[in-house]
Structure formats: C-alpha cells, structure tokens
Symmetry: C2
Subunit: 453 residues, 2 copies
C-alpha cells in the first residue's frame, strides 16, 4: 500500500473511532494486510492503541503485533491486560516471540514469560540460546514433522491434525526415530501423489540441503537465493532437526546485510534502525569515528606535500591538479573495490581467484588510465594552456595512479577476507585515503623528472 493510502486509512480509522463505529472499524481492519495495519499503529497515540488492537481477531492481532517496532510493541504491551497479553503470546510464532523477548526491557520480559504457556516458554528459552546472527537465532521450531514409514494418507492426516500452528506446511520434514533429518517432502508432492498408500520414504527427497544452528545467517540467505528454497532445515551437532528458516526471513536477512555492507562501504558503523528511528546520537556515533580516523590518516598525504614544498613553490600551477589527481585515484579505486566486494558477496569471486582478478584488473586499468591520460593531456595543453612539461607530468601520473588504485582496490578486499576482516570496510573512503599518498608521491616524482626540479 502506498504512503498516501496509509494516510487515508489513518484518517478513516480515526474517524470511525471518534464516531464509535466499532463494528465498521472491525470490518475495515479485517480486510487489510497486517503490515499496513502495523504502519497505522506506529503513529497512533498510545491511549488509542489497545482500543484498536482489541477490535482485531486474534490471529490478525498477532500478525500485526509481530510487524511493529520494538518501541511500539512496548507501548502497546503496557496498555494490555495480562489476559490479552497471553492471547497475543499464544498466537505469535515462536521465533517472533523470541525476538520480542530479546528486544524488551527486563520488566516487560518477566511479564511476557509469566503469560506464556509452559511449552512456548520452553521453546523461547531454547531459541534464546543461539546468537542472533546464526541460523539458530532466526529459525522457528514450529515446523511440520513426518516419519518415513507413514503412508501418504497418514501423512495428510497428521498434517490436518497438527498443521494449524506450524509456520509453514508447504515443506514437511521427515525425521527418523532419533529425530535426525531423513528427507523433505513438499505438500505439493503429497497432494499430487497418485497412491495414498505409498510410503513417505519413497516420495521424499532424501538429499536435503540443511544448515547447522551456528551457520551465519548471511550464508543461510545465500542458499535461498542459490537454490530457490521456500525453507531450509536447521540441524544440531548430532544432525537432529531442531528448526527451519523460511524464505520470508531470508529476504529480511538479505536486506539487513546489504544495509550493513552499504554503511561499511561508506565509512559508517552499521545500525539496524531505519533512518527516522535512529536518534541523532545514533547517527553521530555511527559517522564520527570513521571520519576522525580517515582525517587523521590523511596525515600521510600532508607529510608528502610538505616534503615537496620547494617543488610546489617553484611551479605553483602543480597544486591546481592535486584534487583532480587524488579524486581520480579514489574513484578508480572505489570502482574495483566495490566490484570485488560485491563479487565476493554474491560468490562470483572466490579467494582462490586472487591472481585471475589481478591479471584482469591490470589490463583493464591500463586501458582506462591511458584513455584518461590522453584526454587530460589534450585538455591541459589546449584548454588550460599550461606548459607541455606540466601536462606530461599530470598525464603520466594519471596512467600510473589509475593502474595502482585499481590494483590496490581489487587486492585489498580479497586480502581482508583472507585475514578475517570484513571486505566491506575496504571500500571507497579507505581506498581514497590510501591511494592519496601514492598518487601524490607519483605526481611529485614525475614533476621533478619531467620539469627537472
């Protein structure tokens, strides 16, 4: 739903509420998707929230609740009675309930756990053990489990009896008596099966791709993209099935990871809050340390310039091309570094491709650099009207700086990955600072050589 639609919706709901037309309000809300209703709740005054919340049927209410930001969840919980809170907790999927417990302050957590059924409480505690960014931390324990010796008929019966509170039944997981994962069978296969007496063992895919509880959630989301799965089973160290991750979680993980990478690639500490939910202090904290670090790193370029002060004083026009040269070096470097970072993230470039990457980059960057140098030489001679010596020095620097920047830019992310640093921090800003110094050294040495300083 578009923004304007959400605005209209807000006005309509406020109007119905003011007029106390609760039946109509309930009817309207039932027709709306949960994420849109959640968007409306975000901007409601706190005292209105419980009123509207109570009007929704409990499954919709739970869905809307799961979509709210932690701040709004907390406000809403404060307005609910213990009995109402219990209804919500019971209806939530256990992975959403676990996220809730992780986000709320201690007092609220106590109230939540007190209202949860013993079963739910146990599942929440189980899930809380896993780190948030692992497969264990994003999985749900509410999956559909079948046995290999069931017939199709028995399996469908089991699904009809137990399927209601599962996060998905589109894929059913077949486990042996020791709970180890034996295979997966889709609801589609079961429904389309010709013979209701066929055993699941003969229908299931016994070559299942699974992940372990400690697999990084980013790797989990990559498997979804590669194989087009709707869900991936998660197993513990003894290969017992303990949960599943569903594709909607994979989409969210992918977006989060990309936000994180883009922040790092632009010299910011990543935050997981949307722009307007982050406080000014959050923004300040995410930006200032990197700016400060890069500013202090620029000491090297200052030192280079100061040690060539005499050359600059002799031919003052040389200064005019410093920003152009350092910028071009930075831009060329960030082109390759972002290409390689992204290539590694999507799996197109692997650590053992190191020399292949260098060999490609060397040829491309030489072509790039030569093109730039030729254009630049012409511009300096005929438009800027500087001497041939200066034009030559600037152009020679260009070839070398593009070559060097693109080589450094392609090598650093791969090296970073090898030594265990996140390649994304090797992006534009850091590359710019690093290649500034080399660019300036090249420039002054070419100038000295060509102009005889």
């Amino acid at each position: 739903m578009s923004d304007t639609a959400i605005q209209t919706l807000k006005k309509m709901l406020a109007h119905l509420d003011d007029a106390k037309k609760y039946q109509s309000l309930r009817d309207v809300m039932e027709t709306l998707p949960a994420p849109d209703l959640a968007a409306v709740f975000e901007d409601l005054p706190p005292e209105k929230m419980p009123v509207l919340f109570r009007l929704m049927p409990k499954d919709l209410a739970a869905e809307v609740f799961a979509e709210l930001t932690p701040e709004t969840q907390e406000t809403l919980i404060q307005g609910l009675s213990d009995r109402e809170l219990k209804l919500v907790i019971d209806e939530l999927f256990v992975d959403d309930a676990t996220d809730l417990v992780e986000e709320m302050p201690a007092g609220v957590v106590k109230r939540i756990l007190a209202q949860a059924s013993p079963d739910t409480r146990q599942m929440i505690n189980e899930l809380l053990k896993y780190p948030e960014d692992s497969a264990g931390g994003v999985m749900t324990t509410e999956f559909m489990e079948l046995r290999p010796d069931m017939t199709v008929r028995q399996a469908m019966e089991t699904i009809r009896t137990n399927g209601f509170d599962k996060e998905t039944i589109n894929n059913c997981y077949v486990t042996k008596s020791d709970r180890t994962l034996a295979g997966v069978v889709s609801l589609r296969t079961l429904v389309l099966a010709k013979d209701p007496d066929q055993q699941i063992a003969g229908l299931m895919d016994d070559n299942v791709v699974s992940v372990s509880t400690d697999t990084d959630r980013e790797d989990v989301s990559k498997l979804f993209e590669k194989y087009g799965f709707l869900a991936i089973p998660v197993v513990d160290k003894e290969k017992r099935l303990v949960g599943i991750v569903t594709v909607d979680d994979a989409l969210t993980i992918m977006q989060d990871e990309i936000n994180e990478d883009i922040a790092k690639m632009n010299a910011m500490a990543p935050t997981d809050r949307p722009y307007f939910r982050a406080s000014l202090w959050d923004l300040y904290k995410s930006r200032t340390p990197w700016l400060l670090f890069l500013m202090l790193s620029a000491t090297f370029s200052s030192l280079v310039i100061r040690s060539y002060e005499n050359a600059l004083a002799a031919v003052t026009v040389l200064t005019a091309y410093i920003p152009m040269l350092t910028d071009t070096g930075g831009n060329a470097g960030s082109q390759t570094t972002s290409t390689v970072i992204r290539g590694m993230a999507t799996g197109d470039i692997r650590p053992h491709d190191f020399f292949r990457v260098i060999w490609r980059e060397m040829r491309v960057s030489l072509l790039c650099g030569l093109t730039l140098a030729v254009c630049n030489f012409g511009k300096l001679m005929w438009l800027d009207g500087v001497g041939a010596g200066v034009a030559l020095a600037v152009s020679l620097t260009l070839v070398c700086t593009v070559l060097l920047s693109q080589m450094i830019g392609s090598v650093l992310p791969i090296v970073a990955r090898k030594v265990g640093i996140d390649p994304a921090v090797m992006a534009s800003p850091l590359i710019t600072t690093i290649v500034d110094t080399t660019t300036l050294l090249l420039y002054f040495n070419f100038a000295r050589l060509v102009l005889g300083l």
Copy 2:
C-alpha cells in the same frame, strides 16, 4: 555446496565418464541439486556436455538447463538433436523458456520456437511482449486457477489433475468467469479445511495484493519483502489475471537491483554479467566514461586553486591540508548520500520527508564537524607544529565543509528522485567532485580572513 565440493564433484564425474560408468554417473547426478550440477556444466568441455546432459532424467535436465548461463545454454543446444531440444523446451517453465528466447541469437531462437509445442509457443510470444524489467517480463503464466463456486473437494480434484505443470500450487488464484481476479487461497487452507463441501468463495482471501503487468520489477520485489508473500498475482489493465511472480524470482531481482545500485554508487555503468563473465571491454566501457566525466568536472577545483595561487605562495603549508579537507568533505558527503539513497530504496525515507531530513542532517553534521575540528586543531598545533592561524583556518573549514557536504549529500538524492534521475548516481564520486570546489573556496577564504592574506 562449497567450491571445493564442486571441484571434487567435477573430478568424480570426469572419472566416471572416462571409465564409461554411465549408470553410476546417472545415479550420482540424480542425487545432486540442479544449481550444483549447473556449476559443473559451466566448466565442461563442449563435446562432453550433451553426453552428461542426456544421462539426467528430463525434469532434472530442464532444471539444470534453466540454471546455466546463456553462453553455456547456446553451446549445449548446438550439441542436442531437435528431438532432445523439444524435450527440454516442453519441460522448462514458460518464464525460463522466454528468458532463453530473449538471450539466444536469431538462428537458435528459430530452432527453439520450431521445437516448442503450439501452446508453449503462444505463451512465450505472450510473455515476450512485456519489457524485461516489468512484472510482465518476470512473471510465469503457469499458475493454478480455481473458481469461487468450487467446493474444497472440487478444488483439490482440479489441483490433482492440473497441478503437475504449474510453477507453484502453494497459492491458488480464484478468478471469476471473465478471468478477473477474485481472491487467493493457499493449498494449506484447502488441506486444513474442515468441511470438504465448503465453497472456495468462503475460504479465499478476497483482498489480494496484485501488481499490474507494467509494474517495475523492483517494486514487485519490495512487496515480497514487506508482506512476506510466496507469490504475487499479475493482472492486466482489465484486472484479468495473466500471471504470477514467485518469491525465488523476487530474491534474484533484489540481488540484481542491488548490484546495479552499488555499481552506480561507485561511478560505474551497471552490467548484468558476473565479474568473470564480463569481457575486458565490458569492464572498460562500464568504468571509463564516468572516470572521464568526473576528471573533467575537477576543472572547477583547479580553477579555484589557480585563482588563489598568491595566497598559497605566501603560506605554502596551506597546500598540505588540501587532500585532507577535500577527502573529509567527500567522506562526510558520501555518508549521508548513501544513507539517504538506501533509505529511499527501502522506503524509510519518502520524498515528502525532504525538510525532516535536512533538519536532522543539519544537527548531526554540526556535531560531527565540531568534533573533527576540535581534534584537528589540537593535532595541527601540537603534532604538526603549524601556527595558530593556519590551524584555525583548517579547523573552521572542517566544521563548514562537514556541514555543507552532509547537507548537499542528503538533499541531492531526494532532488534527483523528484526530477526523475536515479538517486544512486548521486553517490560518493559525484558528491566528492561537487564538494571539492566548495571546500576549497571555504578554505581559501578562511585562510585569507584569519591570516590576513
């Protein structure tokens, strides 16, 4: 599967092939996921491809075929007989067949269409009408269709009869007799329904989110992320259901769009080829025009420096801080510009938030700038040992340049969106070039003022 596993697999298959153990080869291939087999095919010598391809059961063969790069598909097709090609085309999902027709050279397309069944040919021609980056261009026409007056029993019967060649049956779409979309019902709902004689009209969700054939594919993928759908129906101008987009396509679209954004944000023309599949010429073409444009734009900073040559000649140490100042301006600018670009991409920042963004950025950037200026003043006075005047000029420039860069960086992407330019091109490199000139102007004017030049 990891790289090493793929390598091992390649060796194993080559070994079995050499020994002519075709039955074992077939058995091994049947247990492997299609994307992994496709990875093996990519590196096979052309003459081996058809041999291995023929060993696979036809549904697996089609799945593997759909995963191959266009180059390998073309090579493989050249090794297949017309009859074999026909089997593949019949087994492919129609959206994959359409992609194939779009990628192949004219001669191969002719052969493909000649082998396709009349039905398939018609569906392919239908899909070819839509632009590649629209919902129509990514949808499939093989969806499960039901009628509102069917009972659950009749619906299940229809699914069992017609479900085999549908891309998904997890969601079934309910249409009226004029083919307009009436609702959606999940296979889960049908399976879990208590009463087999209940009508679909009473079970279906009649408030379906749908897109139109010309909806941008990026907007389609955002709907998947927002609502957690497994599929979205696509309707034509008369609201008739013409296709569906499935979540696996959404994941691919999301990755493609992000690759495109990251390329643009780093001054490259986007290519849709993986790194090693792009030719050197492709890489050259995607990089050089932007580098050239940015290099020529740096003329402004050269002009500023040349017009203040006297000031620089009088206090030569001023030159030493030019790279630090322009880099800091560029880094500060790219922080906000990437935050705003990403915020707009995920929907956190909307065009009407213009003034809210400016007001936030003004306060944050002032804090950032002041912190940097204080640290810098200390460093220049006590470490670099420059005079208080120079230290003051540099520090004053820092405050103003961080403020200005972050303001420009946050405003430009929003303005770009408003005038219909892709905000992603307003990122780091362009911002750097733009803020260079303002930074230098600020610097020289502060220097003149403070040092009385």
